[in-house]
Symmetry: C2
Subunit: 401 residues, 2 copies
């Protein structure tokens, strides 16, 4: 285990019927609120009206930024910064999924930054002071509600990239499982794949002696594997929605990732798919992950022991050599995404028909994600291209034996 700092001062309010605590959560920071949300689903479920009534009752002054995109764009961030400055906002209230929260984080920092907001994405050392952020989560996926990360897309330059800063951690986050009842089967599947990917990206790692972190990752994976299919079948199953929601938050708040080095792989590849094709992030991750796993196992025998841990401790597999267990675990992962979550598991099925720009995307993934060093298995451009190319065909035929 390596040295680490863990500092997560987000005040989590988990559970149902806690909205009455919202004014008390906002008021310490001031009276002027920027209310940020997405495409209007919070209006459909009546949440928008409830929040506005509550804020007005407490004489809070509300500015609004609506229409933040699923892969949030830098244009929305710029717009939010302009509003926040003009309205002299004291605090940001983000209501939505990770995209709304991520955009709000960069707005919060952008208010204090003189240059263009995209600079904060390409160079996180520029992220300094930020407005306080309060969130109300409506989608279990990114973990943004309890961490200091944000991912923003720039369609003009075909880039989707991450930034981070200690000042970006939300001060208070409301996690109400009932607000996720109306999340579609598709988005529930995508969110579940996203949180599983967060755990994989941290679990498949070379740092030794991280049993605490590993056992938490395994526990959260088992919890997601148990509850995601239930939430898809029974959207208003409170226990499953609650476990998914809390697992998604803990999957990426530092508990699993701290104490080890070695960085992520599949997210960097997926970011190129989303940057070029604007596909749903979690779906892209579900497609890429099993191909990445197979690539690691095929190319590097030193990965087998860790994949065998995954097989034993997450899937309960017991029979076989480490390599056999590793291969079985990849198959289980693929079948879980396909059969249990109902995710289309090839790129053509999600609208990516041509392989013409695979080389370009692969090169950018390696470059933006720095994939060729300090990874579980280092990836060059050819490796990424091979993983992407494999994502055009089903894995069932060559995997089932």
């Amino acid at each position: 285990m390596e040295n680490f700092r863990l500092y997560i001062p987000t005040d989590i309010r988990f559970g149902k019927e806690r909205l009455r605590e919202l004014p008390e959560a906002l008021e310490p920071f001031g009276k002027r609120v920027l209310f940020v949300y997405g495409g209007g689903s919070i209006k459909k479920i009546g949440l928008y009206t409830k929040i506005m009534a509550l804020l007005k009752k407490h004489n809070l002054i509300v500015a609004e930024l609506s229409g933040v995109e699923p892969n949030p764009r830098i244009e929305s961030v710029r717009e939010g910064i302009a509003i926040a400055r003009q309205q002299q906002v004291d605090v940001i209230l983000a209501v939505g999924g990770g995209s709304v929260i991520d955009a709000s984080k960069v707005i919060a920092a952008g208010v204090y930054y003189d240059g263009d907001a995209w600079d904060l994405i390409t160079d996180k050392s520029l992220v300094g002071e930020a407005l306080p952020l309060v969130t109300i989560l409506t989608l279990a996926a990114t973990g943004s509600e309890m961490n200091r990360n944000a991912v923003i897309s720039n369609l003009a330059t075909k880039e989707k990239r991450g930034t981070s800063g200690w000042e970006l951690i939300p001060r208070v986050s409301f996690l109400d499982p009932t607000l996720t009842y109306t999340v579609s089967k598709w988005q529930t599947a995508a969110g579940s794949a996203d949180m599983m990917s967060h755990l994989f990206e941290q679990y498949f790692n070379r740092t030794e002696g991280t049993d605490v972190q590993d056992s938490i990752a395994e526990g959260l994976l088992k919890t997601i594997i148990k509850h995601a299919p239930i939430a898809i079948r029974e959207p208003d199953n409170y226990i499953s929605r609650a476990n998914l929601l809390w697992a998604s938050t803990l999957a990426l708040n530092g508990l699993v990732g701290q104490g080890r080095s070695g960085a992520w792989s599949c997210h960097a590849i997926e970011h190129e798919l989303s940057a070029y094709y604007d596909i749903t992030h979690g779906i892209g991750l579900a497609v890429i992950t099993p191909r990445w796993m197979k690539y690691c196992i095929d190319r590097d025998a030193s990965t087998h022991a860790r994949f065998a841990d995954y097989a034993r401790n997450v899937w309960g597999l017991t029979d076989g050599t480490d390599k056999e267990l590793a291969q079985k675990a990849v198959r289980q992962t693929y079948r879980f995404f396909k059969d249990q979550l109902g995710i289309p598991m090839t790129l053509p099925e999600v609208g990516i028909k041509t392989q013409d720009i695979l080389a370009e995307m692969s090169q950018k993934a390696v470059e933006h994600g720095n994939l060729s060093e300090n990874r579980f298995v280092n990836l060059g451009t050819e490796a990424v291209e091979q993983i992407l190319r494999a994502s055009f065909e089903p894995m069932d035929n060559n995997e089932q034996s």
Copy 2:
């Protein structure tokens, strides 16, 4: 899962050679420091000298309270409050194990309380504002370094009782595994039993649908079961000391306990043993816990499923009915404490020879711990007495079949 608030703003600095960060951690709170420590082991390992040199180099003004007891006494707390007031202390630096940190917490709150400090223990609603607290941990056990709880003993009234308050959470905690290298086999065993007991007290619970919390508890238990015997054999095994230290902190910082109701049992019983006989807390817990488990299984078949989860997910047991698995898991727990941790597993072996005051202790345990309601299995005076009486004889004979 039930509604919960999770707010743990402790800034954790985990790892070796981080002492140079101490002045930066203290200075935001002021220049006048109350340095609290125990019986002098920090002098033996050279830590005292290093800290004093560092504080003086940074022109911090240091008052001292030394000699805080293993079961910290209210007299030490009163003394600390007097010094803190007289020296107009800005911040408390606690260096030691849970006892030193617990005493420091009540000193921190006591400075702002006009009455006698024991009031803060018997009525936690009186705990309000508190001095900021920075800790340097030297023993993996209580989790006090990242939570808002404190347990104090009053030998005059033969009471050992807990209090808590949001203001008592340490602001910064330094967790350096190398500082635990000199912890004796006995204290390593006791600390490990203590952290396991914290997990048991939260895991054996009636709230349904807490898979996130349960899987984290199971993971931490497996980690402790793996690493405690190694740390006892090889006191300077960094990986094992690191995993034990981090597991002890996470075992009682809210992650496992939040989202469920139903309170603890074994700690309340042990507190009476420590109050009457001043025995090592973790050792008392190791002795009592398997007898409490056996009592639950023998008396209440509705506990079998949960004990069977424990058997399967922590000990990897697979064969048998839930009841059989439950019984096997109790045996494993007992044998682990005895054979792997080397704990004397009867009360006479730890110096409690007479059964004369069992009835009195049992009555107090039920009363102070409110053991007869809202427990995994409610316990009356007779039940506690039966558990204590069983702790006078080895379990091996009647358990091995």
